[in-house]
Amino acid sequence: MKKVIIVRYCEIHLKGKNRSYFQNLLIKNIKRSLKNIKYNLNILNARYLIEDFDDSDYKTITQKLEKICGIHSYSPAFWVKSNIEDIKNCCLEIIKNKSGEFKVETNRADKTFPLNSMELSREIGGEILASNPKLTVNVINPETTIKIDIREGGQTLIFTDTVKCLSGMPSGSAGRGMLMISGGIDSPVAGFMLAKRGMKLDAVHFFSYPYTSELAKEKVINLATQVAEYSGGINLYMVKFTKIQEEIHEKCPEELMITMMRRFMMRIAERLAKKSGGQAIITGESLGQVASQTIESITSSNSVVTLPVLRPLIAMDKLEIIEVSQKIGTYETSILPYEDCCTVFLPKYPAIKPKMEVILKAESKLDVEKLIEDALNETEILSI
């Protein structure tokens, strides 16, 4: 009787001929995530087994599995020889301290097993009832279900619990995107959502030292590190945005500050994305949440780039976004008080519906190309 963890994948089983591509990616991601842990990965049909790990590593392993996109669920299980005696002993061991209602469910992939599914369930159920007087049978809605999975090759998996994981697609299976990460609640969630669909992430952050602090920068690095757990690593580009903001502040109308900044940020994000093989820009915009996220403002910032801009939060309410950020563990960091560059030179009344001709006129006062080049030259890259 050997302790194992059954890992099941999600949509991959819907794939046809290129299923092995997705499977291989998921296996690679699992291996990378568990790289400092001793274990063996056993690849079965449509599921994997994590075997030969130390009991003390169980929690670390499962915590990591819960953050790997593409995994549907896992179950702590026992791996026994496919004979009635071993199966029975294992089931009795699992259930010996339980009470209440139970049932036994059998799945028989190995059709050579002498009893069919119903017969084995009945046989084991009877043994359990005889051994533990605190248990009764309920086949409709039991508190405990013992699942017996008789695999081909003479081995059987036995388990009671299944823990749901993230689902989605394996990281790296859906291209590469450049996440614009600010330090707030929304952008890490946006990154997570695309990572969950299999997109490999890079991220870009704009900071305005000395107007913003080193602490704000550290906060963003922490957030990126948290998102990277889901995306299997992130290259974080830190762009010094100070000069651009000072120029906009000096030469453009106050109410256009945010609109103009967003256009610069999009342009820089696109250039960095193209340099690193990115195929999309990802933002945490949610329609109407702030002045820069009205459809007019989004149109203005969207118009300076050609890469697709993915906005997974566009139709989500703030509370829904907060819920996800709490679930993925970024919320506590996001609400730390250090402010980002968007609050520097914040206009009292930002333009809510900026007009394109006014924007273009204001922008004509700036040497856009030089400002972008200078900012790119000062960009730091952190590999997380």
Binding site: P210, Y211, S213, E250, P337, T343
Partner: protein
């Protein structure tokens, strides 16, 4: 670029002389002072010598060593059990938050208003005390503005209203720096080592020998049962030498630092910079504000120029302003721009003049950007 460190109210550079005289207690004389063998007793003896080295400057007093100023404040405040306590709006968080915690549990705590320089408004303070007041806490030197409160006088007046009250003062920014203050009416006085060249992780609570102190920390019965926990021997011996050094040179240091403060203030751009600290404040702490600009931005700019100073606010929308400077009744534009420049015994004129020059430069530059001049 030579780094100029002027955030000495936060912490000071360790005093090398005191360190050299004490470091043997980290390596060679490591014995537990509670041990009964000779080497242990010898260490305990050194702790007692350190105690008397400090108490030489505090007649009719005793002390217990603690881990920091905050622990000293907490120990003192733990003596407040019932009826009401009176403190000020100018207290360090170690006092303020401890009292607020008691207030949230139903105790009555009242805070006296401040004058614009950060000193307590004496009339308001006395008006809050009644015959049921059992505890008072007034900071000796305000850690943000340097304002000096005449604590012995305040204690005397407070005890005229409620004779049995216990009067505590946080002396962290005053100890070894300011000559007057502690006197027979003050019952408890908190001290931290690292503000006068000592090590972090050690402080003491000086108290009137007539006061019956009760323990805040329980355990092995060290310090006569008043503060359990194995003593930080290195820190304690080191603190005693730092204290001796500070008190032996107090007048000389004070005069020198007053000159530094005067030179500094006469060299800053007063059109753009408002001085919050008063003339008779502790010269070791200068609080000022670049009106309408952000203090933290100036702090970063000065850091890039090699000058390290403190700030009274952070780039944070949640806690944007200093609680204490706000209590001095300043408006937001002043609160935004607060900086704290603080000197040590080692600060020299050249450093102060460079700081003034760089400060002017940064303020003028930032003002130009922010106000499109």
């Amino acid at each position: 670029m030579k780094k100029i460190y002027l955030d000495n109210a936060a912490t000071t550079r360790p005093n090398l002389d005191a360190f050299n005289r004490s470091h043997a207690f980290a390596i060679e004389n490591f014995y537990n002072p509670s041990a009964t063998y000779r080497d242990g007793r010898a260490v305990l003896n050194e702790i007692n010598l350190a105690k008397s080295r400090i108490l030489r400057y505090f007649p009719n007093s005793k002390l217990i060593f603690t881990s920091c100023g905050t622990e000293s404040d907490n120990t003192a405040i733990s003596l407040f059990k019932r009826k009401n306590a009176v403190s000020t709006q100018g207290e360090h968080s170690a006092v303020f938050q401890t009292l607020e915690n008691l207030r949230s549990k139903g105790q009555t705590v009242r805070y006296a208003k401040l004058n614009p320089d950060g000193s307590v408004n004496i009339d308001d303070f006395l008006s809050l005390i009644d015959k049921d007041t059992t505890f008072c806490s007034v900071v000796h030197v305000n850690n943000e503005t340097g304002a000096i409160n005449d604590i012995n006088y305040l204690a005397k007046r407070a005890k005229e209203i409620s004779p049995n009250l216990i009067f505590h003062s946080d002396g962290v920014q005053a100890f070894g720096k300011i000559s007057s203050g502690y006197g027979s009416f003050v019952d408890l006085y908190s001290v931290s080592a690292h503000k006068i060249g000592g090590l972090k992780g050690v402080g003491c609570l000086i108290y009137n020998e007539k006061l019956k102190l009760s323990p805040f920390m329980f355990g092995g019965g060290q310090e006569g049962g008043l503060r359990s926990g194995t003593e930080n021997v290195l820190g304690i011996i080191n603190l005693s030498y730092c204290a001796e050094n500070a008190y032996e040179n107090l007048a000389k240091n004070l005069e020198k630092t007053q000159k530094l403060k005067n030179e500094f203030l006469s060299n800053i751009n007063k059109e753009l910079i408002t001085i919050i600290s008063s003339e008779n404040a502790s010269p070791y702490v200068v609080s000022l504000s670049a009106k309408g600009l952000r203090g933290e931005v100036l702090q970063h700019m000065l850091e890039d120029e090699g000058v390290i100073v403190g700030t009274g606010s952070a780039c944070s929308s949640k806690h944007p302003h200093s609680r204490v400077i706000k209590a001095c009744n300043y408006k937001n534009d002043i609160l935004d721009g607060v900086l704290r420049i603080s000197f040590s015994f080692e600060t020299d004129l050249e450093e102060v003049l460079i700081c003034a020059e760089k400060l002017n430069l940064c303020v003028e530059k930032l003002d130009k950007v922010m106000n499109k001049r």
